[in-house]
């Protein structure tokens, strides 16, 4: 640890530098579509600079990496923001990670961008979240706390790369054109969260106005497509969540109405219909250092008959209710230096699944390693986890932190 304390007459910045060296390799159990053997293979160095001169704080988290798959290195500013903190409000300006909602790897009111490629290829969990360039205002009156996020620059989710991941894509090979929402006042995304305690429960209300972060694909012609356009339809989300102690554990309830603003009637075959998404979660400590987490998640499609009527014949139809369950088991051993965990997704509506067993050991206060496997399967053609069937991978993460 390097602790720098710079001071002059009336000016004192309290600054610290931390970070890590990391090796992260994920071996494909079957060769990739491009013939490669790794889903991920890189060395990475992260530096976190944290400086405080109250009421301001500067935080910059930068990664430098070398990726062995593309054989190239680069710099990546993961986060970089300035905080201003007043008594009853605060402001954060710059690139930041925001996590809302109660789901464990399931997101309803967390409308911020995700990197699913990182998640499926065995990278550390923090790489699932992408930073956004935004302004966040927090106000904290007695009655209710409020977070307001204004995002001028659209950032889509990242999905598994088609060179490394096998996937279901009936349109593969057709030329693509991607159209992201242009940056202007009208396209500025707004996300708001109001929260407070209600008799021991953490209650939140969420509002979002912006875009789907998963693209929709519009062919120029449904029967003989020659050209595809990827675009991000307009979306609003209205949601709520509640979490607290119940049934000798922690109970989480979350729901959100996904208002598909460009297809409110549900007649456009390429834009998702409006949906209601909901989640019930339960977490319990069964014995010392062993916890179990269960989730049931659903997506209920509105205007289903319009959807069925408008679907082109060659594309598999989605069910009205998509269901997903998850189980997480975590056992700490050896004074919490060894962690054994198992996470699983299983969809009762699709019959597909994902399994992620992992073992993590802290060799010292600075060095840890994790070894795990991502296993996909089941379902039918085009189902979300089942279509990743041939992408099972074995990964290792090794990190020296300082």
């Amino acid at each position: 640890m390097i602790l720098a304390l710079m001071s002059s007459n009336s000016f004192a910045i309290d600054a610290s530098l931390h970070g890590f060296f990391q090796g992260n390799y994920s071996l494909s159990e079957r060769s990739n579509p491009d013939g490669g053997d790794f889903k991920w293979a890189e060395e990475r160095f992260q530096l976190k600079l944290d400086g405080v001169e109250e009421p301001f704080r500067l935080f910059i988290k930068t990664d430098a990496y070398f990726n062995h798959i593309d054989k190239k290195g680069d710099l990546e500013v993961r986060e970089g923001y300035i905080d201003y903190t007043a008594k009853n409000w605060d402001l954060r300006i710059g690139r930041q990670v925001i996590t809302w909602g109660l789901g464990d790897l399931l997101f309803i009111n967390d409308v911020f961008p995700k990197d699913y490629e990182a998640f499926f290829s065995g990278r550390p969990l923090e790489y699932l979240k992408k930073g956004i360039d935004a302004v966040k205002l927090g106000t904290y009156p007695e009655a209710v706390s409020l977070e307001l996020v204004v995002i001028p620059f659209f950032e889509p989710n990242r999905f598994p790369d088609s060179k490394r991941f096998w996937s279901y894509n009936p349109m593969l090979g057709i030329p693509l054109e991607e159209k992201e929402p242009v940056t202007n006042f009208k396209n500025t995304e707004i996300a708001m969260r109001l929260y407070r305690d209600i008799s021991g429960f953490d209650a939140s209300i969420y509002l979002y106005r912006g875009f789907f972060r998963q693209p929709s694909m519009r062919p120029d012609n449904f029967t003989m497509p020659a050209r595809l356009t990827l675009f991000y339809p307009r979306l609003s989300v209205y949601g709520a969540s509640l979490q607290g102690r119940a049934l000798n554990g922690i109970l989480s309830l979350e729901a959100g109405y996904y208002d598909s603003r460009q297809d409110r009637k549900g007649t456009d075959p390429v834009i998702p219909n409006s949906q209601t998404r909901f989640l019930i979660g339960y977490q319990k400590q069964v014995w010392e250092d062993f916890t179990i987490g269960l989730q049931y998640y659903g997506e209920y499609m509105h205007d289903y008959s319009e959807y069925i009527r408008s679907q082109p014949s060659q594309i598999p139809v989605a069910r009205r209710l998509y269901q997903l369950t998850s189980i997480r088991l975590t056992q700490f051993l050896m004074h919490q230096n060894l962690r054994l965990s198992l996470f699983s997704f299983y969809s009762p509506s699709e019959g597909d699944y994902m399994l992620n067993p992992e073992i993590k050991y802290n060799f010292s206060d600075h060095l840890w390693a994790a070894l795990g496997e991502n296993i996909f399967g089941g379902g039918r053609e085009g189902s979300r986890l089942g279509s990743l069937d041939r992408n099972d991978n074995l990964y290792i993460q090794l990190r020296y932190e300082f």
């Binding site: 931390h18 925001i98 923090e126 953490d202 922690i250 400590q285 010392e288 250092d289 004074h335 206060d365």
Partner: protein, 275 residues
């Protein structure tokens, strides 16, 4: 006047006699402190001193083979109610590196489960943590959550087994037996200082009646008039693991605001409290 004075002095004597009898009754009561009273005073001295409390805590986890792990944190505590009542804790981690900047908040309630929240900075995420077992290890150390924030007095049957000196200090020796069967020890013997009621030593016996854990208060300091254990050790005799804890920068009655114990400051801890 004289008559009156005589009457007056007689009245005085009467009052003095009354007071004396009250005092003697009080001191008699002090001698007849029950085991519960002693444990309660001990909890007050050990876990509830002051309106609020702050310390930089250095924990050294030492394995049988001598390998050391460090946990460094700032602990802030505020009382809401009397001894044995509700408390709120705010903890900020400095070390080890993989938990740096993590914060942890506990609302402790008597006779029911705590509310616990953890903030994970890498994901900017606040999570509630399931907390059914107060006998769970605190951050992997030999101390449990109860050792950090206190055990409900009603959870045990207490009895005074003797009074004796421990390193020149007069002590009550109390045996506390958990009423419930699902506790990791069958009973605990505590040496409680008769002057300041701090626990100087505790021995935990397992289900077979064998000694398996020993707590010792290794150093005491007087801080703002509050006798405080500034160095303590918990040793597990069965696996050879031990944890040494040193409190530095201890302070009491520093005026911690209620707003500290909120999601806002869990996500963005204030320097003035954590340094």
């Amino acid at each position: 006047m004289r008559r009156f004075r005589t009457q007056d002095s007689g009245f005085k004597i009467f009052i003095i006699c009354c007071l004396l009898s009250i005092f003697s009754f009080l001191s008699f009561d002090a001698i007849a402190l029950t085991a519960e009273d002693i444990v309660k005073r001990s909890q007050e001295a050990f876990f509830y001193q002051g309106k609020d409390f702050k310390a930089r805590v250095m924990m050294k986890l030492i394995s049988k083979g001598g390998q050391e792990r460090i946990r460094e944190l700032t602990m802030l505590r505020k009382n809401y109610g009397d001894t044995g009542g509700e408390q709120k804790y705010f903890i900020y981690f400095f070390q080890p590196a993989d938990v740096k900047d993590m914060t942890f908040m506990v609302y402790k309630y008597p006779a029911r489960d705590d509310d616990r929240w953890l903030f994970i900075p890498a994901l900017n995420m606040v999570r509630r943590i399931a907390a059914q077992d107060k006998r769970s290890s605190f951050v992997g150390s030999d101390f449990t959550y109860e050792d950090v924030s206190g055990r409900d007095i009603e959870d045990d049957r207490h009895e005074i087994i003797k009074e004796e000196k421990l390193s020149d200090k007069d002590c009550y020796v109390i045996k506390s037996t958990p009423k419930a069967g699902d506790v990791d020890y069958s009973y605990k013997i505590s040496w409680i200082d008769k002057v300041n009621y701090l626990p100087l030593k505790e021995e935990y016996y397992d289900k077979k009646g064998e000694l398996y854990k020993i707590f010792t208060a290794d150093e005491m300091k007087d801080i703002k008039g509050f006798p405080t254990v500034t160095k303590r050790t918990m040793k597990n005799l069965q696996n050879g693991h031990m944890t040494e804890v040193v409190f530095i920068k201890v302070d009491y009655n520093i005026g911690i605001e209620d707003s500290l114990f909120s999601e806002r400051y869990l996500r963005q801890p204030q320097r003035k409290w954590i340094e």
